[in-house]
């Protein structure tokens, strides 16, 4: 089966719709997150894993590709973009599936094999797999699917039929994993997985049902207040109790244990009303509450969630990688694709691990989340007095770009000049915005990674848009209308253009070479295109003209953005207009630090 471009478009839309559906439940899933650590980011990690894949998928415009091949590449991208335990396990599962359906056999039999392989990959990739987690739901899914396919050949119908069954399994996860029972919730990863299946089913039948749940700090507050209430002397109950009835809607609470406790409290109140102050189960309720609070506020054995992608020629197996990682760490997941390793680990020594691992290859990306801090944020009752419902927040390197973006409609622009902001600064900035929802983006991949970590520490609902250059941000801000609907911004997340073309002109601080091996002397100007040094010259104008000659396509507009070091350079537009008749040229001040000029090419 060969796919033409329109079908790729269709698949993108379908995956985008499933992502949108999951995105709508992000906060709900976050608030169920108690295992392996209650850091409230399962929903965020699952959505960022898929979002990263959507953003990094190659543009297959005009190139034939089969659906199986496309999905295979998508699963690879999920692995590379995966975040957190749940994100990595989900990516592993999808990789396992696409290993089987990559050959484009979508029959029920083959899909069953795919689900089986997906589960196998996810299970084997998890260092210490536990029952009652997303793995259990994945297992039950393939079992139920296998059972149903004996009677029904339509795979999509069978996926739909699996969902109610999986919900009953999800309800039983607290019986399988004690920490869930103690916390009064079902497994967050498992819930996220079922929501994904629902998203797929919704693509089939187009129904919608967005669920919300009670904020977690509210649950802790309720438990503490109930304990306070139960600590009152028995003799005083008689005066407090008349007229008292605890009425919290259990469907809002979404916490089975707390629901049971509240039922007990009502029994207690009735008992006092009827029998005076005698209620034998009072101590039991108090202990129950204490136990529940302890689960949500644990002592952290490992404080940091470390993730990295390493390209290595020195390591050939996952076991070799495992051998060099800290043995006191836990939640270890190691993935390997060709010479690239993706590692997720919980540890107290992220710096040591990174230093050790760096001896074996080159990092493509690293990320360290402080789970203790995330947890503090998750359980804290701190509130921000939101002053606005939504805002667009951009991080850029230059003051010129800041002015351009503000003028185009960005609400807040942070200019980091030459110094990339830390996660701590980003959290401070996000909180300073006092906005309930924030659309956040940055012109640099490292800052984007830091933003993702900061998002889990912010009190606002942060939606990160995967841009990695300032032109993508300009494009984004230009595409946001004044009256955009914050509940439907997943389109923005998904539909970022991939064909933004630009190059940078920088100056060599030491002798080096171009990608082709030509020498670049210290002080020369050189052109960087797609992270490669293309050519160099002493004269910046020569490099600019050479760059335009090389990279111009069918473009009608070429825009130069001067960096801070080129602010006072003479205007070369007239020379360019003479050299390239028929092309429009514009020049602005961008104020970027690293590049003397950015040259942007537009159709």
């Amino acid at each position: 089966m060969e796919l033409i471009e329109t079908n790729i478009h269709e698949i993108k839309i379908r995956i985008g719709n499933v992502f949108r559906y999951l995105h709508g439940y992000k906060e709900y899933i976050n608030k169920l997150n108690v295992f392996p650590v209650p850091d409230g980011d399962t929903g965020l990690n699952m959505t960022l894993t898929i979002q990263g894949a959507l953003a990094n998928m190659p543009d297959y415009k005009g190139k034939p590709i089969t659906m199986g091949e496309y999905l295979k590449v998508f699963a690879e991208q999920m692995l590379m973009s995966s975040r957190g335990c749940s994100g990595v396990i989900l990516a592993l599962y999808c990789k396992g599936i696409t290993e089987i359906i990559g050959q484009n056999d979508f029959s029920s039999d083959n899909l069953f094999k795919a689900f089986e392989n997906g589960y196998k990959k996810a299970y084997e990739g998890t260092e210490n797999p536990k029952e009652g987690t997303i793995l259990t739901i994945m297992y039950e899914f393939k079992e139920k699917f296998g059972e149903l396919m004996k009677e029904e050949t339509d795979a999509l119908v069978n996926i739909r039929k699996c969902i109610p069954y999986l919900k009953t399994v999800l309800d039983k996860t607290p019986d399988m994993l004690p920490v869930l029972k103690q916390a009064g919730v079902v497994d967050s990863g498992g819930a996220g997985f079922i929501i994904l299946l629902e998203g797929i089913d919704r693509e089939i039948k187009k129904s919608k049902n967005v669920q919300t749940n009670f904020p977690f700090p509210g649950i802790l507050k309720i438990t503490r207040n109930i304990r306070k209430f139960l600590a009152v002397k028995s003799s005083k109950f008689k005066t407090i109790v008349p007229g008292l009835h605890v009425t919290i809607r259990s469907d809002k609470l979404q916490n089975t244990r707390l629901n049971n406790i509240i039922e007990d409290i009502n029994q207690f109140i009735n008992s006092i009303k009827n029998n005076g102050s005698h209620f034998p189960r009072r101590k039991e309720i108090v202990n129950n509450l204490k136990d529940m609070e302890e689960v949500w506020t644990p002592k952290f054995k490992q404080r940091y969630c470390l993730e990295f992608v390493l390209k290595s020629d020195k390591l050939s197996t996952q076991n070799e990688m495992k051998a060099i990682l800290d043995h006191e760490s836990d939640n270890l997941i190691i993935l390997k694709s060709d010479s690239t390793f993706k590692v997720h680990i919980h540890t107290n020594k992220p710096d040591l691990i990174l230093k050790e691992v760096s001896r074996y290859g080159e990092f493509i990306f690293t990320k360290v989340d402080d789970m203790k801090e995330q947890h503090q944020n998750f359980i804290s009752e701190d509130r921000i007095d939101y002053e606005r419902e939504k805002c667009v927040f951009c991080l850029v390197a230059g003051e010129g770009f800041k002015a351009i973006l503000k003028n185009l409609g960005a609400d807040e622009v942070y200019c980091y000049r030459g110094i990339k902001p830390s996660v701590k600064i980003l959290v401070k900035e996000l909180n300073r915005l006092k906005s309930k929802n924030i659309i956040a983006t940055a012109d640099d991949k490292d800052i984007l990674m830091a933003l993702k970590s900061a998002a889990s520490l912010s009190k606002s609902n942060v939606h990160i848009i995967e841009t990695n250059n300032v032109f993508a941000i300009i494009n984004l801000v230009m595409s946001i209308s004044n009256d955009y609907d914050i509940t439907d911004i997943s389109g923005l997340i998904i539909n970022q253009p991939k064909d933004i073309r630009y190059c940078g002109i920088s100056r060599a601080v030491r002798n080096t070479k171009t990608t082709n091996g030509n020498p670049v002397k210290e002080g020369d100007f050189f052109c960087v295109f797609n992270n490669e040094i293309m050519f160099a010259d002493k004269d910046p104008e020569t490099v600019i003209i050479e760059s335009i000659k090389n990279f111009i396509n069918t473009d009608s507009l070429v825009t130069l953005f001067k960096g801070i070091h080129a602010k006072n350079n003479k205007n070369i537009l007239s020379r360019l207009t003479r050299t390239f008749p028929g092309i429009s040229f514009e020049e602005y001040y961008g104020g970027q630090y690293q590049y003397y000029y950015y040259i942007n090419f537009e159709h």
């Binding site: 003028n407 185009l408 230009m478 209308s481 507009l557 537009e602 159709h603």
Partner: protein, 293 residues
């Protein structure tokens, strides 16, 4: 007995008289003022292209006014005994309140002589032409005033126009800018896309988007049409009226035509022809499109 209906409109409708299959149609020419002198469109001399050339060569400021009450009365006087109903198809009240006022005055003056239905298209330029095409279809099939009004309202609610403007100053100076003012004064040069929607009760010109190049602007128009089709759950656009602009931006106009043909299913497409008065608002390199879904 079928009603004999006279339709009156003004010439800021993006289409020429011969493009309407309806003989009882009177098009009032809007006055255009350049340096205090009044001009009305003529077949060969005072055309849209003539004004665009003047804009480019002479740096002039042109203005227009709403239709003159006297012009409207002349037409009604001339025709009141030949017809049993007059339908006056008007530019959006949000764009020109004065036009609505003139039409309502004349309606009052003739209330005992001939019934006049003033239909606010909540459109301007091509959008008026498109609504008029729909009204002609309606009156050919329906005789009852209530049916005509109901179906015309439905047609209006399903009509959208997008204008690609090279320079918003022309719209600003003509006093028609509405909420599109928000697109003015950008540090980065942008090509503003403004629009008017029949669904908008205020009937104002509003910002639709921003682009850096005309090709990007065209992509946004296609996206706009697709979104409207999705909103209205239709797989085909009924009518597209596509303006050629003023002959000074043919690459962009032809790119838009190609993109429409490639990606927008439609029943009918008509090529619009701008009048002198429309050139006043839009200025050089502009072009537009109206759709009825």
């Amino acid at each position: 007995m079928k009603k004999e209906i006279l339709i009156i409109t003004s010439d800021n409708l993006g289409l020429k008289k011969e493009q309407f299959d309806y003989p009882s149609l009177e098009i009032i020419k809007c006055p255009v003022y350049i340096n205090g002198k009044e001009y009305r469109e003529s077949d060969h001399e005072y055309t849209a292209n003539w004004l665009i050339e003047k804009y480019l060569k002479e740096n002039i400021v042109a203005k227009s006014s709403s239709i003159l009450q006297g012009d409207l009365i002349d037409i009604i006087e001339k025709n009141k005994d030949k017809y049993s109903l007059v339908i006056h198809v008007l530019m959006s009240h949000g764009v020109s309140a004065a036009t609505t006022l003139v039409a309502e005055n004349v309606k009052k003056i003739y209330r005992d002589v001939i019934p006049i239905l003033n239909i606010d298209t909540r459109q301007t330029s091509l959008g008026i032409g498109l609504v008029l095409l729909k009204i002609i279809e309606i009156i050919k099939q329906h005789d009852h005033i209530d049916d005509i009004l109901r179906l015309a309202d439905e047609a209006i609610r399903n009509t959208y126009s997008v204008f690609v403007m090279h320079d918003l100053n022309y719209l600003f100076k003509s006093g028609r800018i509405g909420k599109a003012r928000a697109l003015m004064g950008s540090v980065l040069r942008i090509i503003p896309l403004v629009g008017i929607s029949g669904e908008d009760k205020e009937g104002l010109v509003v910002p639709i988007g921003k682009a850096r190049t005309f090709m990007q602007a065209n992509d946004k128009i296609i996206e706009f049409i697709h979104n409207k089709m999705l909103e209205k759950s239709v797989v085909k656009v009924q009518y597209i009226v596509n303006s050629l602009g003023y002959g000074d931006n043919l690459d962009a106009v032809s790119d838009l035509s190609n993109k429409i043909k490639e990606s927008v299913p439609y029943e009918k497409m008509i090529t619009g022809q701008p009048h002198l008065v429309e050139a006043v608002y839009y200025g050089p390199k502009s072009y537009s499109i109206s759709i009825n879904i």
